[in-house]
Each structure stands twice: as C-alpha cells, then as structure tokens.
Symmetry: C2
Subunit: 240 residues, 2 copies
C-alpha cells in the first residue's frame, strides 16, 4: 500500500524534525531550558503531537542522544582498516571520543543526565534499548581492538578477563574524566587544568600497565603528544 508507506515516511520525517530541533534548542539554550511546548511550537506542531512520538520528555532526550550516538559510532566502523598498530588503534578510539566530546559538549552531559537512575527509569524500554544498541559499535570497536591485539601478541592474555572487560578500563577512565571535566568548578577547585591532556597520559599508563606493546612512556609529555599527533594525522588522512 503506497499511501501507507508515504505516511510512514512523513511520520519518520516529523520525528526527525523534532529530534533535530530539540538538539538545536539544547545546543543554543541548554538542556535546562528545553520545554516541550516551546519545542512543539518551534516545529509548528501542537504539544500533543510530540507525545505521539515520545512517551515523555526523557524519552525525547534519549532519542536525541541516540541520534548523536549513531553518528558518533559511525566513526568507529572503519577503524580496523587504519594503518596503525593495535595500541595506537586503541588510542585512536580515545582520541576520536575526545574530539567528539569537544565538538559536542552537550552530548556527554546529556548522557550523564540520562544514565542517572532517576532519569533512566523514565525512559521507555524501547528507547533505552535503542540507545544501548546505538552505542554497541563503539563497544565492539574496543573489544575488537583488544582481540586483535591479543591475537597478534601485542597484549598478553591476562587470566579471567574478557576482551570487553579489558576495554572497560579505558572506557571508565574516559567516562570518568569527562564527568569530572564537565562538573564546572570541580577540578578548578583542586588546581587541575587541562584534564583531557592528562587523560591521555593516564591512558598510556594504563595500557603500559597491561603490557600492551609497543609501549609509550606516560612520563614524557612530549612522547605522549607526538604519538597523539601521529595517530591524529592518520585519522585525518583516513576520514577525509
């Protein structure tokens, strides 16, 4: 039935419009200022129409986060092809994430908000799964690099730890640093600047601690910086 298809497409397009506009409004006015009625009228629809697409405001926010996550995840798909050793590929993941966070400062904040238990509970099962699924390629990329590193002998296979659990280390380090960096005033209060530069050094310490070869010494900032530059150049090259 052709008409059915068209309606489905139109519905889809409208949902996209809502999500894009919401993202835009969040970018300009902040998460706090987003109001369902304002969003609706900005899209030239009635408030009720929003609720034909999203079960709640949190649900809408989850949809926004999902969309952004899908775009983000896209960058990881071609990672294994890069002309980089496994350890540098892992660094490439962290750098990609870092750059993405810098370009989308709201995204981490939004994710942090959504993953708060109180908020998470307000999101429909369906959207929660969609969000997790969207993030899957990122997790897969991490596990994939770990597996390849183990196969190639770059990374000793430690007992009782899966590739996913290995990847949890850099993931948590990254996540934690983003949270801390985003909490306005927190790190400043402790005289800590440039948290994200330090993230890279701690990342190398972590990798070296697991004996992931070839080692990069976290002690020497210039070495760490040079390796980041090298990997960034490869990423730049590969992705236009």
């Amino acid at each position: 039935m052709g008409t059915e298809d068209r309606k489905q497409r139109e519905r889809q397009a409208r949902e996209q419009l809502f999500i894009d506009k919401a993202h835009e409004l969040i970018r300009t006015d902040g998460l706090l200022a987003l109001q369902m009625s304002k969003l609706a009228s900005a899209c030239e629809y009635a408030t009720g129409t929003l609720y034909q697409h999203f079960a709640s405001k949190e649900d809408l926010l989850a949809a926004v986060a999902t969309r952004t996550t899908i775009q983000h995840a896209e960058r990881f798909r071609r990672l294994p092809e890069l002309p980089l050793g496994t350890r540098s590929q892992m660094l490439a993941i962290v750098l990609t994430d870092l750059d993405f966070a810098a370009a989308n400062p709201d995204h981490y904040r939004l994710m942090q908000y959504l993953l708060t238990e109180a908020v998470w509970a307000q999101i429909s099962q369906e959207r929660r799964e969609a969000l997790l699924t969207a993030a899957q390629p990122i997790s897969d990329a991490v596990s994939g690099v770990v597996e390849r590193a183990r196969e190639k002998g770059d990374l000793p296979v430690a007992r009782e730890i899966s590739a996913e659990e290995m990847g949890l280390g850099p993931w948590a380090l990254n996540q934690g640093m983003q949270s801390l960096a985003n909490a306005r005033g927190l790190l400043e209060a402790y005289d800590i600047g440039q948290p994200l530069d330090h993230l890279l050094r701690h990342f190398h310490a972590l990798m070296t601690g697991w004996r992931w070869e070839p080692r990069v010494d976290p002690d020497e900032p210039s070495v760490v910086r040079a390796e980041s530059e090298r990997v960034r150049a490869v990423l730049q090259e590969a992705f236009q």
Copy 2:
C-alpha cells in the same frame, strides 16, 4: 547573648533534622520520590520552613551530599599513619571509596545527579563551595600519598604533572567505573559482570604503568585479590 546562641543551635539542629530525614527518605524511597512537602510533614514542620534553610530542592540535596561527604572524608584523615607502603595506601583509598559506595549506593547517584550541569546551576554558590570543601580531604589524601611516594622514591617524578594531576587518574577511573556500574542495564548489555572487581585490576595496571613500586601485576587476579585482602585487613584493624 545566650538566647541568640540557643536559637542558633536550635536552627542548626532543625537543619540537621531536615538533612537526616531527607537522607533517610532517599534511602528508603529513592531520589525520585523525595518531595519537599512530604519531607516537611515527615519532620512535623510546614513546607515553607524548609525554604528558610534551603534555597531549593537541589540545595537541600547538595546539603545531604555534603553531609555524607564529610563523613566519608573523615575516613581519609588517618590514612598516612597506616602501616602500608605508598602504593598500598593508594589502593586503600580506592578500597575505602569502593566500600563506601557499596554501603551508600545512593551517594554516588546523588553526586552524579548534582554534578550534572543543569542541576549544579540550581545550587547556591555557598552550598556548592561547601560540597567542594567537604571533598577536599579526599583530594588531599590522594595528593598526599602521591607526594610521599615521590619523596620515598616509590614513584618516579614524571615531568609536567603535579601530585593532584597524578591523582586524577585513579580518581577518574574510579568515578567512571561507578557511573558505568550505576547505569542499570548498561554493562549487562555488553556482558560485563563484576565491574568493581575489574576496577581494581585496571587500577593496578594504571599504577604499574606509572612505575609505582612495589608493583602488583594486574594479570593475575589472585595476586590482585590477595593484595586487596591484605590492605582491607589493615584498614579493618586500624578503624576498629
């Protein structure tokens, strides 16, 4: 003026009552369920009275978090006296934090919520500072251990990184793992269990990567477990 003093004390006591009761209500019914009017009547006061103490609900929550943080911070004060090497003292910090998080599952969630930009903005300057100040001893404990380790030669002094910035690594790792562990369904979706056990292994990898002596090999779970047991025993001994 004695009467003034008494009134101050009573006011203080009432504020404490509000904070304690709020903490209790959060423990039993969850953060989501906390209502200002319910809290007020649970304390046998009118709603408006709450607002003589707290500028907003977020302000109240910050006060709850501050109180808990002060209790938590207390545990770090006597840390330098412990009969442990510097690296084990650092582990002691992580373990203390871990145990505290296990005993106060709401605290991390509450902190995560409060540090969300949207929420943070709702808290009065005063309370924000109080919360940061309350956490200061923890940060001091971390920096202190790093400094002592450097002095004793357990930890090489890396270039361009302060003691605070060194401590940022384990802090971020810890924080990130807590966030991930708290996001219901997130780690399960990626087949990761026991995230906090893995935290300890990654912690040792990080420390070893910075060449903090004496090394503990993250590869061997039994070694990691044994070291945790040893340090836990010392903590147990010291703090009754």
